[in-house]
Symmetry: C2
Subunit: 308 residues, 2 copies
């Protein structure tokens, strides 16, 4: 009898592999390195080799879920700069070697959002949005316990909402003024550098290559006024993204995750305060919470897609 | 055998009643006045009286769909200023008198979006968004052929996206800087008045109570530079809303409806041009089209909700 599910989160540096029970309980997890050489051609082989060498025989596996850092339609990754991939149909590549047709694929931010719904901060809520604040801004929209992928796999690309209409900074996507340019770790640095260049305020911070989000949060904790202003703007932009998503799909709960969310409750409270000021009347009470699963959200969500 | 469906669109001035076949073909339609006196207490009675006096016997009716100008959860309208209603459960109020439990209710903009999917501009597309540009801005999000209502009935309230962050105009919702303040008929007038007050450009237009969207479009057609600038900004804001929705839920098609959309292809082309400039790369080719059903979209969508 099949009784196990694999949830696999393929990142640019490591691949996280989780073994789950049929009911979605995490039994064990591993990490292997992502081999991005040769256009990432070995990545799927490496995963298959690991799984076949694992103690669980293939016939005991119900199915496999994958999270990948790129847009996905059905089981096909459209492109994945971090992995060196162009179009890759993961199901087609792996179904024979894993002797399993029950293979599901999602964008990693979408998988993380589903993971938090399956076992984390949004557990028990059927409609949720997760915003992942890292180097960039990822997000996932869950409606009726399912990931919304959209017609081009671009649903939940909230990081690319055009938010700044005059003199917006260039974004990695080719546009400028995207949410990501002001609401990610990089965005916080951008705001801080802008303030440092633009204002006469004395600050302990300097706009340099080394400046990072943690340094800015630390400075704010030490009452550095410029850092406080920077974080105020930064959290306003995040609140604006939440304002937009609450009048677009009106989720029950918004989950804030990613490296930046390690700043914790003080960050969250600033976001909530801004949101209370700008939120549409009937959605002002939308729950806004911190993610719970950290780096495991992806494997939970990947496994959560598998039909049992 | 039951073979008919009623689709009913309750507006602040008139109630549109459509009789549809089981397959969704419109057989006949009528309009009755909306009696908003006494907090709209007679509205549902008036509808029931009309239907009972109609030639189709109640037992031949499969079910009823309603569109209403307010937020809806399940079959309950939460509030409806235009009708004088507070909370009204339409199913509870009408199921006995109509001898039918198959009653469905949606916000009117959501119903219109579904109507265009059932028989209009977005027919054949399972994921679509309709933006209705009238006195205000309404919208509806359809995913997998179903209306997304959200947890407070506020999904598809794109008119209340906060778009202007500095010196935004007050919106009817109590906030300021909402999309509706710059992307509705009123919004176009707002932009034009702002330009008239602010610039030295010579224009045939004057900012007065009488100024309306049609006058501004006419002036632009007569090469009035200020009117052309106003419409350029106006269409940019609409394109921005489309930019946002395409990275949020990534529909296959966006439908532009409402009174303002009567400006037709020239308006549409300006919106598309702006969208091509600011759209996220993978969704730049999202179809943007004009609505087809006009005032009938609501009854089509209302009927389209009924389970057959």
């Amino acid at each position: 009898m099949s009784e196990f599910i694999y949830g696999i989160d393929i990142g640019g540096t490591t691949i996280k592999i989780g073994l789950f029970s049929k009911l979605g309980t995490l039994i064990n997890k591993w990490e292997i390195n992502t081999n991005t050489t040769n256009f990432g051609k070995n990545i799927l082989n490496d995963i298959a080799t690991f799984i076949k060498s694992n103690e669980v025989p293939l016939e005991k596996v119900i199915g496999y879920g994958f999270g990948v850092p790129g847009p996905v339609i059905d089981t096909t990754v459209l492109n994945c700069v971090n992995l060196g991939w162009n179009q890759v149909d993961i199901k087609k590549e792996l179904s024979t070697v894993l002797q399993n047709e029950n293979i599901f694929v999602a964008n990693d931010a979408n998988a993380a959002a589903l993971g938090e719904t399956k076992n984390g901060a949004s557990k028990g809520f059927k409609d949720s949005v997760m915003i992942t604040l890292g180097t960039g801004v990822g997000s996932g929209v869950i409606i009726d316990n399912k990931i919304i992928t959209g017609s081009n796999g671009a649903a939940g690309e909230l990081g690319h909402i055009k938010l700044i209409h005059d003199n917006g900074l260039p974004c990695g996507c080719g546009n400028n003024g995207c949410l990501e340019t002001v609401a990610s770790a990089t965005g916080l640095k951008n705001i801080t550098c802008h303030l440092l260049n633009d204002s006469k305020k004395i600050s302990t911070l300097k706009c340099s290559k080394e400046l990072n989000a943690k340094m800015i949060f630390d400075a704010a904790n030490n009452m550095d006024e410029l850092a406080i202003t920077a974080i105020d703007r930064f959290t306003y932009y995040i609140a604006t993204a939440i304002q937009i998503i609450t009048v677009s799909v009106n989720p029950e709960i918004v989950v804030i995750g990613g490296g930046v969310s390690k700043a914790g409750e003080p960050l969250l409270n600033k976001i909530i305060n801004h949101f209370k000021n700008i939120g549409f009347s009937s959605v002002k009470d939308t729950k806004i919470v911190l993610a719970k699963l950290g780096n495991d959200a992806g494997i939970y969500g990947a496994a959560g897609m598998v039909k049992v």
